[in-house]
Assembly symmetry: D2
Homo-oligomer: 369 residues x 4
């Protein structure tokens, strides 16, 4: 094994995502070789007892309370942001200015303007946005098929992200329902994932028509958002994200229909990709039910033999593995801050369309910003 | 068995739907008792050799070539229309004026105006529109659950009707691609079914935003239509109908999420209904995979014991069975011409919205007509 | 259309199967051209009021009470037997001796000896046994794949036939629980179907080891039967048939694994065949989920366009259609009485093995008979 | 967090299972609190370069080549055995005699006698056998339902463990095909898992009838094994394990039918349990499709929020978590060596039955040993 460069990570925030990131930082070295040696240097947050407990359980060396001091520390190489959304921008911009590698949870920001400020500030540092579902092996396989032209010209892109906990508010993180901290509801939390995958798999969105709805009386953020889209490649898209789909826990679903084939994916069945190949003999036309655990599948050889399934957390491990490889090869990692700005532009068009009742261009609002 | 009143049927048109209707007229008496005795009196169409062949195979007593003469015949009680869409209105209006019972394929007409003319002309005769999917036992079970309030307040209605033969035009009926005969493409052919079910299951649609697309160069009618909807009950809807969903043959899918439960249906799996009941114990929360073949299910006791599945054609048999019962009881049958006018109004709003790029009200265009 | 020869059918018995057969006799001519014109001449049974009601509903011309007279009638060409199992042999033998075409429900008989007597008596008349699942289009497609060698050498054959009504005896036909009338329980009723399909798809069974169980106290017939099998082709088989599989209504399931591919079928999802093709590219290895409704599928072009599903009753229609074609071409139809004798031999070996606790040969008991 | 007792682990063997165990030792402390602090002290094996590479990647402190020396080391508390099967007994017996905690891969041994020797030697030390599938949350939920009597009297137990790599021997670990090292093929590797789950879920097996088959010419071990079983509780069982199920990678499937309900599980869909509850209203009778990720499900609260799926490796983490808890509470852990002896007895009966062609008692061979 090669000699390795140490990378000290400081994580700001320590909730659900803090645990998922901590796990990824630990596990990436077990499954991937790298010239970087990640160290879990410190975690920073407001509640010191909780922070200490988490540091002990996950092996963080230190705890801290003041992120502004943390981003200035010389012994920190990487700032990982998993705070409420309204703090992403100030922390990321400070960290970037201090020359740190910056990792940030999605949605990147609560407005296009903010996200562009972040992207500008971070032009000279490596950035990563935790759009972790890009690294689901089944999604990566879908991307490969699209890139190879195996679906042919794309006609339809369809995505739904269905959860139900908005209807059971007791169970939820309080900040996710506050406009000032979350910026939005299902839009930033769920639709952002669907849009990021759509941009990766099907290219730019030109225009959207959207409907935004809050079902819970008095709630500050949206519970559901529906969107039609015109893609630059001529295909049409249908999107829906909601926290009011009773019975659905994490149904992040997408389906693409092209001239030569189709694919279908559901996050609740993370290890499967359904692939229709129009070139199959007619009598066996039917979606291939592919268990994407190898052989011949993206990423999977790093884990277990074929047939042994992966879980949610592996998407974070894989995100980190690819990021470390991009650092090593000095290549641009995706999704980075620039990629996330594109997502914000679509989210902005969604808001605009939902207010005007007309189609909104993602380019128009780009010109304004 | 009671003595039965003879009803002589004349069918105008003899394609795919002609066979489905012929089958229903034959079979309804085998599975249902009725005070009416349906007779397959005559079929009318342009191609006499084909017509004769069909009459022989399906036991029609006569063939005829002139529908205007047929609707005037004294020995005809029922006119069943399964011609191309542009002929629905003239035939139906003449038949209604002649006092006949009028059955008509969907979409009822090629415009709201035309459909309203038909409904007006037929005010005093029993009418039926072949929105046959209302009588899928699983759909009827869903309707029962909705009516009993078992889904609670509805939040989301989602429907997709996915076919692929638009991309293989050689296989298609030629008239279905002609504006003058079909009026529209996926809209009238597929979306009309989805809208009819939505109106039945979830009530009126107030407004829509829609996108209509023709993928095939030079084709006169739409290949795909996407629609967002605001329902009068406060729920939001997403609809998509396409003939360009490669790999899908007849995926007429719908899903409803309410406060207390959810249901999911796919026509390619016609005998199943997936039912989520939020009042189940948490540890067994999960959609019930219900094989809707009885016991305790709508319609199914008329056919085979539980576990023996029904097919596509049974939806027509059941439509006819309910219609005969409504005649016998002198009750209003649904879907009738008035119901179909409501579908046309939504379709009209779809066209309007797709042209203006803004939301269109189903009420506004109603005022115009 | 060609001029057609009239075939007068007399049906003995009038229960669930009587309805399924009546339907097939009516419908075969609607979906298939034939040089035979089936007439529903008479039904024969003990309960005259029920018989008359059924005759009216299904269009049988006459009713009769004495099967011995019926089989002698000159104006009857075909005897169709759907009585309790113990009457199959006497009726079939008399009918065959009278030169009639003989159709008989399964299981053919209640012993090997009886079935051989029937086959001997019927050597010179066309016979049919209603092993209707051979004509499920998905099963016919599986047969085609096997015959073409597309599964390669077969390693595994697995069949389960799971129902639950044995645990709810109130719902059941009384005669099915009587040893004297039914002969056996799940064995003759369900396992016979699985064995017939296995013999058709995978060839002869050499030996079996079996376990037979009655769960209901005091019941005369078996509720469940499990069987291991050695096939002549070197493959191994696992079979299970039960009326005590709570939650299963009609799960007639089979799965075959060969060197080059695999297929999987479930009667509750009658229109699907899952096909694994080892020659697919590794990255899309996965069962094709084939909706067996055409194009390119057995039988389906006779009914509706692709994507429009068929039901249970179509298997009877297709059985009749193939039978009429075999008459017309003077070819041997399968499954005939000889085929059904082979099923009885396996059932006999099952009983023998369950009594001795050792493997039983299907050839040994053949030598004895 | 409490002060923790250090437990030094030495792992003998370093293949696929070595990685799965290493991961479990690392991860258990991240997701579970414990009074034990596991240390990855040393790994022992024959190939020192491979061993060093693995030690570096997985953070083992030392490497060693001589297991006999390792089991004597004072600074080792736990011996974890993941060598080929023939080495399980000598290592485990030595380790137990040296007073170590002993963890061992399955199958525990290559004969009943050997396994009993191991269990005897280890009477006074804590033992664990890596029957990891006991800790699949869905399986644990099934166990809870069985224990609560929610399935009622059990009628049927059905298990298949289907893999295909036996037909692609190039891909396989060489030792697994050698009689001297593996002891058996599908029997010890796959059927042992199915039997362990059956004994846990459905209690003792009295008798079996089995068929063992090797398809590959010249192969020393079995490729497939089929087994019928009579359980002590009166239910009947069907088992099948094979490495020749083309198209199946890791389909460890089980299904239980009882008087009040049924459950169904497939390891390739690890996070699901299908639950039929006969007490549901008839009209919603159908298996609940339960995503076993909480709330209210075993184990899942330790990982991610509901809807975020777990993978194969979590079963090892959970096994370790429960084992540490049993140590802490001084309770007996299952599956231990005694439990694994019971599995060996069934495997022995399988071999006996396959040789004699008759049913074999698990008690009889117990008396012999």
């Amino acid at each position: 094994m090669k000699s390795r460069k140490r990378l000290n990570v400081a994580m700001i925030g320590y909730g659900f995502m803090g645990r998922a990131h901590s796990n990824a930082f630990h596990q990436v070295g077990h499954f991937f070789e790298s010239s970087y040696d990640l160290r879990l240097k410190l975690i920073c947050g407001r509640n010191q007892p909780q922070l200490k407990s988490m540091a002990t359980q996950w092996g963080w060396e230190e705890v801290a309370g003041d992120w502004e001091a943390v981003v200035e520390r010389k012994d920190v190489d990487v700032i990982d942001i998993c705070t409420p959304n309204n703090l992403h921008a100030p922390i990321a911009i400070s960290a970037a200015k201090a020359g740190k590698i910056v990792l940030c949870e999605k949605p990147l920001a609560i407005s296009v303007e903010e996200s562009e400020g972040m992207a500008n500030a971070a032009q000279n540092v490596p950035t990563l946005v935790w759009f972790n579902y890009r690294r689901v092996p089944a999604i990566a396989l879908a991307k490969k098929f699209v890139d190879e032209g195996r679906l042919g010209q794309i006609y339809h892109y369809r995505a739904t992200y269905l959860q139900s906990w908005g209807a059971e508010p007791a169970a939820a993180d309080a900040w996710r329902f506050k406009q000032s901290e979350a910026g939005s509801g299902a839009m930033g939390d769920l639709l952002s994932h669907s849009i990021d995958l759509a941009l990766m798999l099907n290219g730019p969105v030109d225009e959207v028509s959207a409907l935004v709805r809050t079902f819970a009386p008095g709630r500050e953020v949206d519970d559901a958002v529906l969107m039609l889209a015109r893609f630059a490649n001529g295909s049409v898209g249908s999107f829906e994200a909601t926290r009011y789909a009773i019975g659905c826990q994490n149904r992040n679903y997408l389906e693409i229909h092209g001239a030569k084939g189709a694919i279908r994916f559901d996050l609740e069945d993370l290890n499967r990709l359904h692939v229709f190949d129009a070139s199959d003999a007619k009598e066996v036309h039917g979606s291939h039910n592919v268990l994407v655990t190898g052989p011949g599948h993206p990423y999977t050889s790093h884990f277990w033999p074929p047939g042994h399934i992966l879980g949610y957390e592996h998407t974070f491990i894989l995100t980190m593995a690819d990021f470390l490889q991009s650092l090593e090869k000095d290549e641009t990692f995706h999704a980075n801050f620039q990629d996330a700005v594109k997502v914000q532009r679509v989210l902005h068009a969604v808001e605009e369309s939902s207010q005007t009742g007309s189609w909104a261009s993602t380019a128009m609002q780009f010109a304004n910003s």
